[in-house]
Amino acid sequence: MDSETIKFILTPFLWVGLTGLVIGVSLALAAKYMAVREDPRIAQVTELLPGANCGGCGFAGCAEYAKAIVVDNADITLCAPGGAACVDSIAAFMGVSAGSVEKMTALVMCCGDDESAERRFSYNGINDCAAADALAGGDKGCTYGCLGYGSCARVCPVNAIIIEKGLARVNKALCIACGKCIAVCPRKLIKLVPTAAPIHVLCNSKDKGADVKKVCSSGCIGCRLCTKFGDEGAFVMDGFLAHVDYSVPITREEVIEKCPSKCIRRN
């Protein structure tokens, strides 16, 4: 090999090596002096969270929530998908007490489907509940009821919501109670309820019975029969609308049969 060839081979090696060295040293220095110190517990708490990144806790994903728990002492019971097990493990790790967390599920407080509830007109437009609601107040005769254009189903991260006969229904086996559907519903009729609760009043209409009857055959008419036949204190009236008080254990399920408009139902 003559010197020309050696030079031909060596030059690129030298240049590449030199560049690599300079970059390597600067990276090493940067890593040392510009490092962002992070509490190692953040990563560990992130591990304990389910990793669904649903945002139901109100933070932008699991890692952010973990950071909030470690740095800002955020409430550790906010993770709905993780449930009690998750809370317990975080409580153990962080050395705080959690208290008991009840597993919740989202529930659409309306049972007025296309068979029982009237539509005032035919809506023709964007397949979005808020858009439909903004147009002459929505096509559903009842201004409290589910419009059924599926905005909740589209935001659900676990596909737990289906639209059946113009009515949204939550599959409680899949629901992680992240609350996204609650935020998107323009009529605010999705609520978080205890998963274990056996019966619910599936109506959101605060109108008088006569007005409800005009637009929906399965709406709560405020007859108060449930307060009479149900367990003591289990049904509470809010004007013309009955609610279930979930803190009262339910024993008398025959109240389902007593409800004249059949809006008390099992979930």
């Binding site: 437009g125 964007i126 808020a130 002459a136």
Partner: protein, 450 residues
């Protein structure tokens, strides 16, 4: 006084079939007072009026029944004499829920008008403004902006041009046309009152070239040796009646983005508003009735009716001989920017310029097809926007992205959706996006105030 062709022409716009011949020829007829009226408190843009009567009260034609409630609001008066039957939750002419006063009418011929201001030219401007305010006058072109507010520009925004909008570019509607034909002299006096209040140099009356007899009528009414009044003939097209486009066509000035006509020294008033101002000032009559075109292929006998506010749409249709075929859509206002309503039990109001009943063959059917990128909406948009792209941003919930490409400049004229071969509900997308932007801005405001 002279008649000229508008010297400029905005870019974009569309040429729909006008169908004005349906109600073109029928002279304005007074609708008999219905036995019961439901007068909504929200007939204008801004806060609804506050009910100031209670059931059982006797009212005369012109009595105040709803007080102006805030700066951007307008008062409401009883359109007929009678007894207040109830105050109920009803809906405005656009179908939105609001309070309304139900009046059982009684034709006693009595009125409770304001004192006429005959010598208006020598009356203080503030008094005239107050009169227009207390008469409850709101823009009658469709948006219903309270006229008193429009006629009170801040001192640093001098107005040199008053434009009287008689373009009536909405298809089907002929109410402004008939008003110009039959009340040209009153409109001219109304215009002079506006000019006097604002101290404007010139009045320009804008009329599309498909209404030559309206042009002649206005020419005749203004034919005195008056200086500073001019009739500008616009080429027929939509949206010639849009404020910003009209100012540009006539003066060559562009209202800056996010600005108002007064930023370029202009005020645009509908010819109907001008007539209402004349009545309020010279005869002391508050705004209690207006001319409404009841038309459309599904109406038996299309007509232009002088209707007291609060008359239900059903009464109007019945007065026009009922419907001819099955009605698919009922539109309050014109078919380009009006509101479709779900029932005929809706009361008329100050902004109801027309009631258009269309059978299924004549209406737009929106679909959820994807944009095929033909670019026709871009050519049609009179504001220079890209509706296709905007709607895609909004569909993807990227409201900020849509705002960056000038979503808020959309005037919702509907030209884009009129030409869209994929029948996309573009205007609805824009409205949804705008609602999102407003919500975001309100949230940001709340944040900074914290």
């Amino acid at each position: 006084m002279k008649t000229v062709s508008a010297p400029y022409q905005f870019k974009g716009g569309i040429h729909p079939d006008y169908h004005k011949e349906l109600a073109w020829k029928s002279a304005i007829e007074r609708m008999p007072n219905p036995s019961e009226l439901t007068v909504p408190m929200s007939q204008h843009l801004g806060a609804p009026a506050k009910v100031c009567v209670s059931p059982g009260d006797a009212v005369k034609k012109g009595s105040l029944i709803g007080e102006q409630n805030g700066f951007i609001s307008a008062s409401v008066h009883a359109p007929v004499s009678g007894t207040v039957k109830a105050v109920v939750q009803s809906c405005s002419a656009t179908g939105r829920s609001c309070q309304a006063v139900v009046i059982e009418s009684m034709d006693d011929g009595e009125t409770e008008y304001f004192e006429p201001i005959v010598e208006w030219l020598h009356t203080h401007k503030e008094r005239l403004r107050n009169r227009i305010g207390e008469a409850g006058i709101a823009g009658m072109g469709g948006a219903g902006f309270p006229t008193r507010v429009k006629l009170s520009p801040p001192h640093d925004k001098p107005i040199d041009t008053v434009i009287l909008n008689g373009a009536e570019c909405e298809p089907y509607l002929t109410s402004d046309y008939r008003v110009m034909l039959e009340h040209a002299d009153k409109i001219c006096i109304g215009a002079e009152i506006i000019q006097h209040i604002l101290g404007a140099k010139t009045v320009r009356i804008a009329i599309e070239d498909n209404k030559p007899d309206a042009v002649r009528a206005m020419e005749k009414a203004c034919a005195q040796e008056r200086q500073g009044i001019e009739i500008d003939i616009l080429p027929t097209g939509y949206p010639q009646g849009s404020e910003k486009q009209q100012i540009y066509n006539i003066t060559g000035r562009e209202v800056p983005r996010g600005g108002l006509p007064m930023d370029v020294g202009c005020v645009v008033e509908n010819v109907g508003t001008s007539l209402a101002i004349y009545e309020a000032v010279v005869h002391g009559q508050p705004l209690i009735e207006r001319v409404i075109t009841v038309t459309g292929e599904a109406v038996e006998r299309p007509a232009n009716l002088l209707v007291p506010f609060g008359t239900s749409y059903r009464k109007l249709v019945e007065h026009c001989g009922g419907v001819r075929e099955s009605v698919a859509k009922v539109i309050s206002g014109g078919p380009m920017m009006g509101f479709a309503v779900g029932s005929l039990e809706i009361p008329t109001g100050k902004t109801t310029s027309g009631l258009v009943l269309l059978p299924s063959g004549c209406i737009q059917q929106f679909s959820s097809q994807a944009c095929i990128g033909c670019g026709r909406c871009v050519d049609a948009c009179p504001m220079g926007l890209v509706p296709s792209e905007l709607s895609q941003f909004i569909e993807a919930d990227d409201i900020e992205g849509a705002e960056r490409i000038a979503l808020m400049d959309c005037i919702e004229c509907g030209s884009c959706a009129f030409v869209c071969p994929a029948h996309r509900p573009l205007v609805q997308h824009m409205r949804r996006g705008k609602t999102g932007v407003m919500a975001r801005r309100a949230a940001a405001d709340a944040q900074t105030r914290k």
